[in-house]
Amino acid sequence: MAGPANWISQIAAVTKFGLLSMPQRRGSVSAAAFGIAGVVAVLVGVLSIAAGFRNAMSASGSPDAALVLRSGADSEMVSGLGRPSTRIIADAPGVARTAAGPLASAELFVIISLPKISTGSDVNVPLRGVERAALLVRDKMKIVDGRMFDWGKNEVIVGLGAAREFSGLRVGDRIKVGRYDWPVVGVFTAGGGAAESEIWSDAAVLQAAYNRGDSFQSVYVRLKSPDSFNAFKDALTTDPRLSAEVMRQTDYFADQSTAVTKLITTLGYLIASLMAVGAVFGALNTMYSSVSARTREIATLRALGFGSGAVVVSVMLESVVLALLGGAIGAVLSYVVFNGFHTATMNWQSFSQITFSLAVTPQLLVQGVVWATLIGAIGGLFPAIRAARQPIAAALREL
């Protein structure tokens, strides 16, 4: 028997016969394909929740931005910094400056109860008090509806995500802060980051409403460059007047998202794995029936001289092609249904909602394809071996 070229043409021939016979076995072929499509869709769908959440968190910070909390606090909510401390932080080395002063915003972080539109029940929405420099510290900030709030007035602006997910946050609505109603005067975006889940106001005004005196919870600064971070951090941590925790914004947000991301990812893989096992059984079923329906045909080919190796490879190939078809359907389905879907969930560490969009990333789609291929390969392996091992004479006789 001649070399590889011959072998490949053998494989091509057997595979072609197999693929051509698929319309006859429409039922089991579509069952297997849709089974695999289901696995891929669920896997990609669930993981896109985690991916979207992570995206929202990582879009929230830039590498040249830093955040300072009280030492020991793992989130803004439980942190506390007095005015003197915030001044020290704003004047520290490494902080970018403009003519108006250092790019530092001492901020307040509280939560208020608002109804979530999708479930109708109350959720915790972040309410942040900021200083003037905040707009420059968070450079991706943009007002998209209405206007910025006036400093010193009891007014708020809301993030786009918050306006979408929680009721009563359109321009012109009023929300209850402390004892009074404050009007919503504008809607803003922040490059898709966590800030879009928040409601913002003037820190000074919020302090008054919450009886915070002159204390804050965090300071957001913009550094001269990403490399200035170390100098900035060292200066603050060695200062005896302060007891502070200094981190890059990107690290802070990544940290905040770990619990939720871990939960979703674990559950997502658990569910998808079980589904994949089920899909393997479905694929095995299909391929076994494919092979047995073509017993005589395969035996004839082998009697004519086609090698059993070629038979094995082509049966597996057929199975993989089928699986990839199913996987493609599943991938397209999950992209269409899930990508960009807006939702919100709770960030356990800050006890408040984060709004985000599901993200069907290229990596997820690749993962889906890989899973589909694996399912197809396993589903085709055993039937392939059986097809190649059948005694030719008996198979030829089979009715």
């Binding site: 069952a31 669920v42 020991g72 619990a259 674990t266 079980l274 589904m275 059984f281 079923n285 356990w348």
Partner: protein, 386 residues
């Protein structure tokens, strides 16, 4: 029942195919079990007792504190049997990943309010006698291997002591178990008097996080809730009072519409299993056209042939379903697969029964179309097809 043998024999026909289909069904029901457990973990924290309890929190925000003086005023309201308070401590034990709730409480009041926490009498007494004492839920105690007499250091992220330190140490004086399967036994409870006295002045002293109220008449719970809120309207800290069930549910709702998500996933799973199983049954009926023709020739009626095919598909589905549900039960009883992120993890009996029902429905749906086809077979044609 005399047909049982016939039905059973037909399933033993292409063994590989039957086994594979059976396994897909088993897998689907294992998934069902896991999803039920997850749903239960995220939404099922309401205990029986919760029906006659209300939660009172600050109206504007859960993180704002309420005066401790409210307790007396609450207890004077008609319909209120008792009130007690708790405060979020926000502590970390060694590593933020080791998350569990800790709150200061007034021991006697608290245990009376929560009969689902079962504490042996001697441990209860020890707690009343030890100011720095704490009782720990069985689950957490086992997780960290704590024994009575251990000193547990917890770093609060919120509360510091008079000396400025955020580190608090408690003495483990007892453990509590849950009376119901649903009861969360992960929390640690310590004494409020120690907490209030030791916490830094000017930092929320004399203030508490939230109140739990027991009502005298559960059917009047909503009324009493309104009365409580009315009592504190226009004061410095307005309240929002709601039944404990609603309160717990709203926490779950903060995560998302869990019920919808699990239902959607299950829908996708069952749809694909339906396809696989339905296809198998259809195939096996098509292969047996001749045999079914013979049965009809012998004198089996249309209804009987229909019944045979349906019985086969139902038997297959039930078998797979029961095995799957059984395995799910076994696997979920091994505990939380996320390693501690979920407070409870078990497969509720009520959902097991739903699962059995679902498997029957699966059998009927997958078998119906092929069964109808079999029923409509023209005998002479069927015999010719052999």
């Amino acid at each position: 029942m005399k047909f049982a043998y016939l039905i059973w024999s037909n399933l033993r026909r292409k063994k590989t195919r039957t086994v594979l289909t059976l396994l897909s069904i088993v897998v689907a029901f294992i998934l069902f079990g896991f999803l039920s457990a997850i749903k239960q973990a995220l939404t099922g924290g309401v205990v029986l007792e919760g029906a006659n309890r209300l939660i009172v929190r600050h109206k504007v925000s859960i993180i704002q504190l309420l005066p401790q003086s409210y307790q007396q005023r609450m207890q004077r309201i008609a319909g209120v049997a008792a009130a007690t308070h708790q405060t979020w401590f926000g502590g970390i034990y060694q590593d933020p990943k080791n998350f569990f709730m800790q709150t200061p409480v007034v021991p006697e009041e608290f245990l009376d309010m929560h009969p689902e926490f079962v504490v042996p009498a001697d441990q209860r007494k020890a707690w009343l006698e030890t100011r720095t004492g704490a009782i720990v839920g069985r689950k957490t105690a086992e997780r960290f291997n704590w024994k009575i007499g251990d000193k547990v250091p917890i770093k609060s992220t919120i509360w510091s002591q008079k000396d400025g330190s955020f580190l608090w140490t408690f003495d483990v004086v007892g453990f509590y178990d849950g009376r119901d399967k649903n009861t969360d036994t992960t929390a640690l409870f310590f004494r409020y008097d120690y907490f209030d006295e030791a916490r830094r002045p000017g930092w929320g002293k004399g203030q508490v996080g939230w109140y739990t109220i027991r009502v005298t008449d559960p059917s009047r719970a909503a009324e009493v809730a309104k009365l409580v809120d009315a009592e504190f309207e226009n004061s410095s800290a307005e309240t929002k009072t709601e039944p404990e069930g609603a309160f717990v549910q709203s926490w779950a709702n903060q995560i998302g519409d869990i019920a919808l998500i699990t239902a959607s996933i299950l829908g996708a799973v069952f749809f694909t299993i339906l396809l696989v199983t339905g296809n198998t049954i259809s195939q096996s009926v098509r292969e047996r056209t001749g045999e079914l023709g013979v049965l009809k020739a012998i004198g089996f009626t249309n209804a009987q042939v229909l019944g045979l095919v349906l019985a086969e598909s139902c038997l297959l589905a039930l078998l797979g379903g029961i095995v799957g549900l059984g395995l799910a039960w076994f696997l979920t009883s091994r505990g939380d697969p996320t390693g501690g992120l979920l407070p409870l993890f078990f497969f509720p009996v009520h959902d097991v029964l739903i699962g059995v029902g679902l498997s029957l429905v699966l059998g009927l749906v997958t078998g119906l179309f092929p069964a109808l086809q079999a029923m409509r077979l023209r005998v002479a044609e069927a015999l010719r097809r052999i």
